[in-house]
């Protein structure tokens, strides 16, 4: 990649949502806004290697996109007012929002994540319109054809116009009501969709959007919590797999390969993150991320976070993780007691991680025969070969 191409990518990542959002606000035309922003990036790729990178790359891109939009609209002879508003659209990097001035990008995020759109459409639209991910890449990660994804995006945009979804950030109690939905879309964007190597496809985009959201809504603790959670999970990206691509558990990972800068940023965010579900998950991730070795892990702190999380989200999987944490923090008997409690409902029957967790607790309670049998039972239920191999290895260690 040449320096100019790198500069386009960098400026584009920062400026793209701002440009699209501003053009949508003025023209009301989503497709026009996206096309013009893309064309500005293409023009920069063509120009900057020859002319050098401009002093204000974001401003250059905004101007190029605006001029393109003016051309298109002039040819379509739309109303004068839109053209006049477009002509005024010069400020490439407006001052941070103060008082009632709402950042265009926030408007765009809340509109793409509007609950009147189907959840899948919200995720795809946010990736396409706010993060600027090419439709082909979104389609590949979600295992559909490009034309299917194009149709899905077109339908979503048509629905925004036809149903009257506003281009607006809700305020007061409505903001409190809508924010969790926006965070949930970013969370899905972080976790759904996979690269060829099995890693999340859009983790970097999700982090960029979560950082943007946190910057624009600094007083919302869960926005800080979500960004912290993303950063802390992402910090382990380089250490998560062995050379053959098999997943490694936390205690098997080479902690020297964890991203210290991401961990530091995530931990610092926790000061303003409150005690919502994302913040609690981030605190758990932080306890792992800051332990020099697996043996140094602060399990009582993690168990406490799971207690709080289980009160907010009393799901079987949270209950399972809580039992495991208590098993390390307060001994295997305490963990097993909690596990029996969660499994009583039957929701975790045949769920391999639950069986494996019980096996681990049985082993630590000095019952290797039962533990080995449970590990084998868990191995029967898992779908991936590496996981099955790991479980059978544990069983063999206990009863050779």
């Amino acid at each position: 990649m040449t320096d100019a191409a790198g500069a386009v990518a960098e400026a584009g990542a920062e400026a793209y949502p701002r440009i699209v959002a501003a053009l949508i606000r003025v023209t009301g035309d989503w497709t026009l806004a996206e096309d013009c922003a893309q064309e500005a990036l293409a023009a920069a790729l063509e120009r900057w290697p020859r002319t050098g990178v401009p002093d204000n790359p974001g401003g250059w891109l905004m101007t190029a996109a605006r001029n393109r939009a003016v051309d298109v609209l002039r040819r379509a002879t739309v109303e004068r007012r839109k053209l006049r508003d477009l002509a005024l659209l010069t400020d490439p990097a407006p001052a941070p929002p103060e008082g009632d001035v709402v950042d265009d990008r926030l408007r765009l995020i809340f509109t793409c994540c509007h609950p009147a759109l189907a959840l899948e459409a919200r995720v795809a639209l946010t990736l396409r319109t706010v993060a600027g991910v090419p439709t082909a890449d979104i389609a590949r990660a979600f295992l559909v054809t490009e034309s299917t994804m194009t149709r899905r995006l077109t339908r979503a945009k048509a629905r925004i116009a036809a149903a009257g979804v506003p281009y607006r950030v809700p305020t007061g109690p409505a903001l409190v009501e809508r924010l969790p939905g926006v965070l949930a879309v970013l969370y899905l964007l972080f976790t759904r969709g996979y690269d060829a190597d099995g890693e999340p496809a859009f983790a970097a985009e999700a982090i960029r959007l979560a950082r943007l959201l946190h910057t624009l809504l600094p007083d919302q603790p869960e926005a800080a919590g979500l960004l912290a959670l993303f950063l802390l999970h992402h910090s382990r990206r380089a250490a998560r797999r062995d050379p053959s691509g098999d997943l490694l558990t936390l205690d098997q990972q080479d902690r020297a390969r964890w991203d210290r800068a991401a961990i530091a940023e995530g931990v610092a965010l926790l000061e303003r993150a409150g005690d919502g579900p994302y913040a609690l998950q981030a605190r758990i991730a932080a306890a792992h991320a800051t332990a020099p070795t697996a043996a140094d892990t602060d399990w009582p702190a993690i168990a406490g976070c799971y207690d709080a999380l289980a009160r907010l989200q009393p799901t079987p999987v949270v209950g399972l993780n809580r039992a495991v944490a208590h098993g390390y923090a307060h001994g295997p008997a305490a963990g097993l007691a909690l596990l029996v409690e969660v499994r009583a409902g039957g929701a975790l029957d045949g769920y391999p991680p639950a069986v494996a967790a019980e096996a681990e607790l049985a082993a630590r309670l000095g019952d290797p025969v039962r533990a080995a049998a449970l590990f084998r039972a868990a191995a029967d239920e898992v779908r991936s070969d590496p996981e099955r191999r790991a479980l059978l290895r544990r069983a063999a260690e206990l009863s050779p």
């Binding site: 036809a162 149903a163 009257g164 979804v165 506003p166 607006r168 809700p170």
Partner: protein, 109 residues
């Protein structure tokens, strides 16, 4: 934008146990602030007549054309800035608690 608000019963027995708002108050407030242009309850589906013309011949059927268990029991025509405002109006209606409400934008040229 104008929204046709279709007020329906719901086959799901999942009515909200919370106290539903009062319909008289709902109508009076929305009439006063201009969000509700008109509206009415419907007579029961047994009073419905379905009209078709085929081969130039008038065909009348008793009952509604859609044989569903959900029944449209009334409508209100709303004038709202956007979907968010229409949703706020609909969520304050008692049938949002006991049934379901469909918001259909009118195509305005």
């Amino acid at each position: 934008m104008k929204y046709m608000m279709l007020v329906c019963t719901d086959t799901e027995p999942d009515r909200d146990p919370g106290a539903a708002p009062d319909i008289e108050k709902w109508v009076a407030e929305r009439d006063a602030n201009g969000q509700r242009l008109t509206g009415s309850r419907f007579a029961p589906p047994s009073a419905a007549t379905t009209v078709r013309v085929r081969d130039g011949e008038l065909l009348l059927t008793d009952g509604p054309f859609a044989e569903t268990k959900e029944v449209i029991v009334g409508f209100d025509l709303l004038e709202c800035a956007d979907l968010d405002e229409a949703v706020e109006v609909a969520r304050a209606h008692p049938m949002a608690y006991a049934g379901r409400i469909e918001l259909r934008p009118l195509v305005e040229d």
